[in-house]
C-alpha cells in the first residue's frame, strides 16, 4: 500500500541443474563504447538498451533536472529524423520504447521482434551524435517536464517526504538533489543547458549498449561496429570525487502536505560495494546490510511487518530497504512506515529503534538467514523470466562502474553472511549519530486553499 522504493536485488545467472544458460559476453569498440550481450532464445524478441553514465549525480546547483530534461529532448529530432518521428518509426516496427533517468544513469530502450535490432542500433547511434535541440521544441518540452514534476512530486505527500529525506541525509553529495530537478531550476532552464549536457555526456566512451534476446552474439557485435563504430569519442569533463562528510549527530525534518496519514522515513548512511575493495569489511559489509534488510522486511512474516503490523498493530505499513550498489558509492539503509490511527510517528520511531537494538544484541536466527537464502536461490531463477530485467541488471552495474560479473558472485557472497556480521553492521552503522528522520505531518484539506509555495510568474 505505501511502499516507497523498489529494491533491486542482484542475483546470479549461473547454471541451474538441467537448465543451461547462455553466458554474457562483453566487448569494447575502439571508440570506447561498451557492448554487453546476453543470448536468450526463449522468444523471438530482443531488448536493446543504451545506457549513458550521466544522471542527476553529474548535475550542478542551478541546473538540477537537466539530465532528465535531456532524456525528453532525445525524442525531439536529429539531423536525419524530424521531431516526433523517432517514436513513430519504432511503433511502425511493432516496438515498445521508452527511457528513464536516475541518479546514476540515463537509459534508452526498445523491445522489438528480433529482426529489428538493426533499426534500434541505427536510431540510437543517430541520436547519440546528431541530436538537434531547437529553442521551440525545448520550450514545449520543459512545460511537459514541469507537469511531470507536479504529478510525481508536488501533489504526492510521500514523494515530498522522500525529496526532503534525501536533502536532509545528504548535505554535500549530489544524491541530496531530486532527479526531476527543483521547480525553480526547471523554470529557468534553457535549451543551451540541455545542449551543453548533451555535448558533455553523450559520447560513445560514456555509453554501454546492452542487448538481451534471441540473437547471435557475434552478429550483434558486427551490427554494433557498423552503427556505433564510426562515432568519434570525445574527452569527458572531469568528474570530481564527491564524498558525503561523516554525519555527526542525528538530523530531523518535517514535511506538511494535504492528507490523512502520517509517514516516517528513517535512514542511516551506509557503504556500498566497491569495485576493488581494499579491506575485508569493504567486501562483506554491503552483503550483511542486504541480508539485514531481508531479515527485517523480506516477506510478510519478516520482523518489522510481523511485529509492528501483525502483532502490535502499531503500524499499518512498514518496510526496510538498502541498495548495495550505487555509482556515487553512497547508500542509505532505510526504514519507513505509517503509524496506525491513534499512534504517532514518535511511537513508530521508538518501535523501529527497538527492532534495530534487538538485532544488535541478539543477532538473527538460522531460520531467518535460511529464508533470505531461499529467496535468493528462487529469485535467481525467477528473474530469468524477464529479458528486460536481465538487461537492467547488466546496464545498471556497468554504468555504476561495477562489472556485470557481480551478478554471478552476488548470491554466493550473500549466502556466506553470518548472524555475527549482521550484528556488526547494525552496531557500526545503525546508530543515532548517523540517523536522519523525516516525517509527514498531514494537513486537513481546505478546499479554498491555494497551492503552497511561491506564485508562478509567467
Amino acid at each position: 500500500m505505501f511502499h516507497k522504493k523498489i529494491k533491486l536485488i542482484f542475483l546470479l545467472l549461473s547454471v541451474f541443474p538441467g537448465f543451461a544458460y547462455a553466458e554474457i559476453q562483453e566487448f569494447k569498440l575502439s571508440n570506447g563504447l561498451k557492448l554487453v550481450v546476453q543470448e536468450d532464445h526463449r522468444s523471438p524478441v530482443v531488448v536493446s538498451q543504451v545506457w549513458y553514465r550521466a544522471g542527476s549525480i553529474d548535475e550542478v546547483n542551478g541546473k538540477t533536472g537537466v539530465a532528465h530534461v535531456l532524456e525528453h529532448m532525445m525524442f525531439k529530432g536529429t539531423k536525419h529524423i524530424p521531431a516526433g518521428q523517432f517514436s513513430r518509426i519504432v511503433a511502425a516496427a511493432g516496438g515498445k520504447e521508452n527511457a528513464f533517468t536516475g541518479t546514476d544513469y540515463t537509459c534508452y530502450f526498445q523491445q522489438l521482434e528480433k529482426s529489428n535490432l538493426p533499426l534500434s542500433f541505427k536510431l540510437e547511434a543517430d541520436r547519440m551524435t546528431n541530436l538537434i535541440i531547437t529553442d521551440e521544441e525545448f520550450a514545449k518540452e520543459i512545460k511537459v517536464v514541469m507537469e511531470e514534476r507536479r504529478w510525481r512530486t508536488e501533489d504526492k505527500p510521500q514523494s515530498k517526504v522522500n525529496e526532503q529525506f534525501q536533502a536532509t541525509a545528504f548535505t554535500a553529495h549530489p544524491y541530496s538533489r531530486p532527479v526531476v530537478g527543483f521547480m525553480n531550476d526547471l523554470e529557468n532552464m534553457t535549451a543551451a543547458d540541455a545542449r551543453e549536457w548533451y555535448r558533455n555526456w553523450y559520447v560513445p566512451n560514456n555509453a554501454t549498449v546492452v542487448v538481451v534476446g534471441d540473437v547471435k552474439t557475434q552478429e550483434v557485435l558486427k551490427l554494433a561496429k557498423q552503427y556505433f563504430g564510426k562515432i568519434k569519442s570525445r574527452k569527458l569533463p572531469e568528474r570530481k570525487p564527491q564524498t558525503e562528510p561523516s554525519q555527526i549527530g542525528e538530523r530531523r525534518a518535517v514535511v506538511k502536505a494535504p492528507g490523512k496519514l502520517p509517514y516516517l522515513a528513517m535512514g542511516f548512511h551506509t557503504p556500498t560495494l566497491q569495485s576493488s575493495p581494499k579491506t575485508s569489511e569493504q567486501e562483506w559489509e554491503p552483503y550483511a546490510l542486504d541480508v539485514l534488510a531481508g531479515v527485517l522486511s523480506g516477506n510478510d512474516s519478516a520482523r518489522l511487518n510481523q511485529k509492528l503490523v501483525r502483532e502490535t498493530s502499531l503500524a499499518v505499513d512498514v518496510g526496510a530497504g538498502y541498495d548495495s550498489t550505487s555509482r556515487g558509492r553512497e547508500s542509505l539503509f532505510e526504514l519507513v512506515g505509517t503509524p496506525s490511527e491513534g499512534k504517532t510517528v514518535a511511537e513508530l520511531e521508538a518501535a523501529l529503534i527497538v527492532e534495530i537494538e534487538k538485532i544488535k544484541t541478539d543477532g538473527v536466527t538460522q531460520k531467518e538467514l535460511d529464508r533470505v537464502k531461499a529467496a535468493v536461490i528462487a529469485a535467481d531463477v525467477y528473474q530469468r523470466d524477464s529479458m528486460f530485467y536481465q538487461g537492467m541488471q547488466i546496464g545498471q552495474l556497468e554504468t555504476m562502474n561495477y562489472s556485470w560479473r557481480l551478478i554471478k558472485e552476488y548470491p554466493e557472497k550473500l549466502k556466506a553472511i553470518t548472524s555475527e556480521q549482521i550484528q556488526a553492521v547494525a552496531k557500526k552503522y545503525l546508530v543515532k549519530d548517523n540517523m536522519t528522520i523525516v516525517t509527514l505531518d498531514p494537513q486537513p484539506i481546505d478546499p479554498n486553499a491555494k497551492p503552497a509555495g511561491k506564485p508562478h510568474i509567467h
Binding site: 525528453h72 511502425a92 496519514l261 531461499a374
Partner: protein, 431 residues
C-alpha cells in the same frame, strides 16, 4: 527513476494477443473447473493462477469491500495455520504467493521452483480450500483498510477515480469502490467472509491457468486436487447489465493540489464484444498508442499541457469504461479539457486516416511476439481467456482480426457506441 511516459495504461486493452508459439491445452476437472495449461520446460518454474468470479462487483452497497477482504484474508489463516506459518512455508522454499482483484475477478497466484512444488502446493491448497478468516486478523485488517480509505479520500487521483466510476455506473456494482467504504468495511463480520467464500469460490465457477515446468499429467493431478477441495456449490450467476447514461454529467471537486485531475468517458465494451477490434484499433489511434496517439500529439507534444493524457477501453464481463484521463496545472485545466473534447469529437466525426490505421496495425501486429515473451505474461493471457470463456483460437486469430479492421468500421463503431453528448466527467482540483 523518472520515465519519459507512464506505459501502464496502454496495456489495458491489449489483453489478448499471442503468437503461434503458445499451445494451450484445455480440459475440465471432475468437479467442473475449467483448466488452461501451457507446458514449458525452459525454466524450472511453475506458475498457477486460480480465478474466481469473485471480484468487487459481487459486493453490494451494504457489503462494499467484502470481495477484497475475503480474498486477502484467505491468505492470512487456513486449515489451522496462522498467517506467520503461511508466509514462512512459502518463504522457506522461495515460493511467491500473490493475488489480484478487479471488478470481475479474484485470483490467487503461486510461483514456485518446480523442485519445490509439492510443499508449495500443499500450503496453496490449504488457502484455497480451508480459509479460517481469523477474527483477530479481520479486526486488524479492517483498521488498516479504513486508514487507507481515509487517506484515499484526501488524494486527488483516488478521489477522481472513485467519483468517475460512481458517476458512470450509478447503482450498478461496477460503480462500487473495490476497497469498500468506511462504514461498510467497519461492519464486515467473519460470517460475511465465510458466506462470500462459499458462494463465489466454487469449483464449478473456478478457472485455473497453469504454465511451466510440468507435464500435462502433472497439471491434471494438480488441478484435480485444487478443484476437488473448493466449495461444491452452484455456479455463480451472471452480473446484471449496465444502464447507459442518458444525459451528460459533470462534477467539479475542489482540492488544493497544483494540478487538476480530469477524467471523462462513457460506457465501452465487453470481453468478446463484436465491436472489440474496430474500437481497440481506433482507440490506439485516438489515445492508446503512447507517444503516437492523437491526444498525446495535440495536448502534450504540440502544446506541452500535460505529462500524461490517454484514452482506453477496459473490456469487462459487462460493459467496461471508455475512459480519457489527464492531469494539468490547474490554471490551464479549462484549455486542456477543451482541446481534449475537440480532439475526441473530431475523431468520432471523421474517424482515422488510412495512414493512421496502417501505422496502428503495423504496431499492434508487429509487436505481437513482445506480448508473450515471458511465462508471467502468458499466464495472465490464458487466465483472461479462461475466465471470460473466449475461444481457444482467439490468440491465433488475433493478428488476422486486427489486420481486417477498416477506417470505415472504426468510424462507424465509434459513432454508434461512443456518445460525447452523454459523457460523464469529473474534475478534481480545477481553479
Amino acid at each position: 527513476m523518472f520515465v519519459r511516459f507512464i506505459l501502464g495504461f496502454f496495456c489495458v486493452a491489449l489483453s489478448h494477443v499471442a503468437y503461434a508459439g503458445v499451445k494451450i491445452s484445455h480440459w475440465q476437472t471432475r468437479a467442473g473447473s475449467d483448466v488452461y495449461f501451457v507446458e514449458n520446460h525452459d525454466l524450472p518454474i511453475i506458475d498457477i493462477a486460480v480465478n474466481f468470479p469473485a471480484g468487487s462487483a459481487r459486493d453490494t452497497k451494504q457489503t462494499s469491500g467484502v470481495a477484497g477482504v475475503t480474498r486477502y484474508l484467505m491468505t492470512l489463516g487456513a486449515a489451522g495455520m496462522n498467517e506467520e506459518d503461511i508466509t514462512n512455508q512459502f518463504a522457506d522454499i522461495g515460493a511467491v504467493l500473490s493475488g489480484e482483484l478487479d471488478v470481475d475477478r479474484a485470483a490467487l497466484k503461486l510461483r514456485t521452483l518446480s523442485s519445490e512444488q509439492t510443499k508449495a502446493l500443499e500450503t496453496f491448497n490449504k488457502i484455497l480450500h480451508k480459509p479460517d478468516f481469523p477474527q483477530a486478523v479481520l479486526d486488524r485488517e479492517k483498521t488498516r483498510i479504513v486508514a487507507g480509505l481515509k487517506e484515499a479520500e484526501t488524494q486527488p487521483e483516488s478521489i477522481s477515480d472513485k467519483a468517475f466510476m460512481r458517476a458512470l455506473y450509478g447503482t450498478h456494482p461496477y460503480g462500487l469502490d473495490g476497497s469498500g467504504e468506511l462504514d461498510t468495511v467497519n461492519a464486515l463480520k467473519r460470517e460475511d467472509l465465510q458466506h462470500f467464500y462459499q458462494t463465489y469460490y466454487t469449483a464449478k465457477s473456478a478457472s485455473i491457468a497453469l504454465i511451466g515446468d510440468m507435464t500435462e499429467t502433472q497439471a491434471r493431478e494438480i488441478t484435480e486436487t485444487i478443484s476437488s477441495g473448493l466449495p461444491q456449490t452452484p455456479t455463480v450467476d451472471k452480473l446484471p447489465e449496465v444502464a447507459f447514461p442518458s444525459t451528460s454529467s459533470s462534477q467539479n471537486i475542489n482540492h488544493p493540489a497544483s494540478q487538476a485531475h480530469i477524467l471523462l468517458g462513457y460506457l465501452g465494451i465487453k470481453r468478446g464484444d463484436a465491436d472489440y477490434f474496430p474500437l481497440y484499433v481506433g482507440n490506439y489511434i485516438l489515445g492508446g498508442g503512447g507517444f503516437v496517439s492523437r491526444l498525446t500529439e495535440e495536448v502534450r507534444e504540440k502544446r506541452g499541457l500535460v505529462y500524461s493524457v490517454y484514452s482506453y477501453f477496459m473490456p469487462m464481463g459487462e460493459l467496461g469504461p471508455f475512459q480519457i484521463g489527464l492531469q494539468t496545472k490547474k490554471e490551464q485545466a479549462g484549455d486542456a479539457l477543451k482541446l481534449v473534447n475537440e480532439t475526441v469529437a473530431k475523431f468520432i466525426a471523421n474517424g482515422p486516416t488510412e495512414k493512421e490505421l496502417k501505422a496502428a496495425k503495423d504496431n499492434i501486429t508487429g509487436g505481437f511476439p513482445l506480448r508473450l515473451d515471458s511465462n508471467a505474461e502468458i499466464l495472465d493471457y490464458i487466465s483472461m481467456i479462461g475466465f471470460y470463456k473466449l475461444p481457444l483460437t482467439y490468440l491465433d486469430d488475433y493478428n488476422k482480426q486486427v489486420s481486417s479492421v477498416t477506417t470505415k468500421q472504426i468510424k462507424e463503431a465509434f459513432k454508434r457506441r461512443i456518445k460525447p453528448e452523454n459523457f460523464v466527467s469529473v474534475i478534481v482540483g480545477a481553479q
